[in-house]
Symmetry: C2
Subunit: 282 residues, 2 copies
DNA sequence: AAATGTATTTCGCAATATGAAAAATACAAG
DNA sequence: CTTGTATTTTTCATATTGCGAAATACATTT
């Protein structure tokens, strides 16, 4: 088979790796549990379905889906509305999911910085990380203005059409970027979305040069966004801070002022999590 | 009075109830799935455990726990740190859990109200509901002050020692309150916590009379909280809005001013979700 | 009243989850 | 470098148990 040069690219499990360890990773997974989680995920993506809808759309037996839902319901992970005969994500799932944020103290450390950034710029400040090739918004501090951008925490967004996403891509090493781009079709959201890989690469180069990313109505018309990367102790871009608002208030005249604040905030957070920016001169 | 028309106290499933339907509800649950979810919940409650820790603490076979974790990891519901050999809640769980908030538009409607409340009072404003005998914090808008209360969304808190909790209890019907109190031991958090049922009942009566609840350092020393209930279309208290801050800034002299704002905010939200307050005179 | 749509249960069988133990690995100490 | 110990990961035999099809029970609609 492939020359199993177990270079350190896959350090998955450190101990106990008997015999044939090539690439059959999902051999020991529990099938029924995986199917159950598939149902759970599917339900969460589009709530308010009835049992038979779920069963047919997942092409599974209604009995199976029913048992899974009943079991999850007993734990509060899903909820059932007897009136409408519909299934929803339960409060317990919210409680458990929210505990994800506890691990990385990133959010805790980011909050005061996001707050200060919002105060200084007057626009909504956001924190996001890369997860599975997408941007995951972790937290935000909203502006006082009545017209404002709003990404609920937990939102997933495409990287190529997001300020934070482009900030992360710009500071990614070639390998990972190639990996990300490979076989990916860049969806069009507005007329300004960068869908041609060449155009994206070029923009990322500029982004890298200036130190921050600009999303000029590339996801939503009328919305601008300025983002900068946050680095961990290994100098890898692990998160991004952005400021987003309506294009009417985020004109090119204020870009420089805002971008300076965003870059400063990202640098503060980098410092707060013990990171360092290897791209910094000096 | 409790639900009038629906005589059965357990209207769970509306349709399809063959034969022996007495009270053996959890007969059809999937055992292995339930055990897996137990592991998942247990891990989420105290992250950063190693495999053998989890196995021994749950008194299950390491092999089983391992397979469950591997399966959940494949879906991103849990994550594994190869360096430290420790398991954590995954980002996917956060994404799915956050979708719980999408169902109830409560949070969406509450945000502008919470924001206005924070602006008017200068203190952190919170939104919470009752879930399984506890208060579940859904959202908050933080104050600008550097010393402030902070309940991360997703936090569960005891009802008897929480402003929102007491506001909900005070406007609960006798039956449900009795149900809640029955066999429950009220934990002591500070010297001010109301742990004697009589004292709690008396305080709830006062709460009901004045229309808002006061948490005077009953959970955390130095923290005060004023809360008011939000009603749904049936006049049931389904949520609570509160303002919380350090006792130094929330003295008795400002209680009246703040409480008025909180009650107004709760009334606004009640109206925004199409609810009505049956306790209102006229 | 009949038809339709949906939820819930029963039942037998086969898939598969399980625990014990062995194998594989890492780490620490000698 | 070797040994010892702790922990993870796999193997394997077995019976537990999850699964689908069909039956059943409501509710709503025609």
């Amino acid at each position: 088979m492939s020359g199993a040069q177990n270079t350190q690219e896959n350090p998955r499990r450190a101990r106990g790796r008997p015999r044939g360890w090539d690439d059959k990773t999902e051999q020991n997974t529990i099938k029924s549990l995986d199917r159950a989680m598939e149902i759970f995920e599917y339900l969460s993506a589009d709530q308010g379905k009835t049992l038979s809808q779920l069963a047919s759309e997942l092409s599974q037996s209604p009995a199976t889906v029913y048992r899974v839902l009943i079991t999850l319901e007993a734990r509060g992970l899903v909820e059932f509305d007897p009136e409408e005969q519909r299934w929803y994500v339960g409060a317990r799932a919210f409680v458990i999911g929210a505990r994800f944020l506890r691990r990385t103290s990133l959010v805790d450390r980011a909050r005061p910085i996001l707050r200060a950034l919002m105060e200084r710029t007057g626009e909504t400040a956001n924190l996001g990380i890369e997860k599975g090739g997408m941007v995951l918004f972790l937290n935000q501090v909203e502006t006082h203005e009545s017209i404002r951008a709003f990404f609920p925490p937990g939102t997933l967004s495409d990287m190529h059409a997001s300020g934070i996403g482009k900030a992360l891509l710009a500071f990614m090493d070639e390998d990972r970027f190639g990996q990300w781009l490979k076989g990916r079709s860049l969806e069009t959201f507005t007329a300004h979305t960068l869908v041609a890989p060449d155009a994206l690469v070029q923009e990322l180069r500029r982004t890298r040069a200036r130190g921050y990313a600009i999303d000029a109505e590339e996801k939503n018309l009328g919305m601008r966004c300025i983002a900068a990367p946050v680095f961990d102790m290994y100098g890898e871009a692990v998160a991004g801070i952005s400021v987003s608002g309506p294009a009417t208030r985020m004109g090119w005249d204020v870009t420089e002022r805002i971008s300076r604040s965003v870059v400063d905030a990202a640098r503060d957070l980098t410092r707060a999590v013990g990171g360092s920016n290897r791209h910094d001169a000096g």
